[in-house]
Symmetry: C3
Subunit: 99 residues, 3 copies
């Protein structure tokens, strides 16, 4: 290939839609300017929330690609939100063109 | 870091929207209570289905994080649906906070 | 397990919604017939574009599973679009049932 691909850490956060602004604030504080937002429906194991309404919760999926170090910090920053809301987050190494 | 991240297997299923309820039944039977549903459009290599309508199919993407063993069982359980419908499924190892 | 899972390369492209038809043309030229399209909102580090409108951009996420070799070619083919538009692309190895 005539160019090299970068390595990055894709972090995916899925939580209650009401968290969207707070998640973006966490990202912005961390200096992350690029992210993707996708509306979703969810069913979670957080029983206390599933009983609130019939059917599914309105969720949001937010993805960003950051360095591995920054993803460590991001997981730390998400902890307060995770203690009070239905919010999962996971990461994977990816290779590609993103900047 | 002051806490450790869990390892899990992210399974993504993408298929015809009409499969949504059946996929959730498969997950529920397997004891999976957390999953995310995202509406999608798809074009597939399953030619017989692509000719049915002009343009794209209405698809659905359903994601869940389970143990590796449970993902084995999930792939088994999807086989009957895959023999009759356009449905792909794939898995990846992820690390994060989800429960 | 009574059957074996295939290995593939999941390529995810996220870009301005206006790129959708061009991205599909790239895929079709490459002989890729199966892909999934999900509408998204995005904020990018491509400052020149973020100033165009208030709030988020309308983005599209297109995913496909191909061979590793074909993903190399796909990244090459995306280069012209990436030089003029906000478009990221990344790949990951996945295991599953898809064809």
């Amino acid at each position: 290939m005539s160019y090299s691909l970068a390595k990055g850490t894709l972090v995916t956060m899925i939580g209650e839609a009401v968290l969207q602004d707070r998640l973006i604030k966490v990202l912005t504080k961390l200096g992350v300017s690029g992210y993707t937002i996708i509306p979703a429906q969810g069913a979670g194991s957080h029983g206390r929330r599933m009983g609130d309404i019939a059917g599914y919760n309105t969720n949001v999926e937010i993805k960003t690609i950051v360095t591995s170090d920054r993803s460590d910090q991001l997981f730390e920053d998400l902890k307060p939100l995770q203690s009070t809301h239905a919010l999962i987050a996971f990461r994977q190494t990816v290779e590609g063109v993103f900047d």
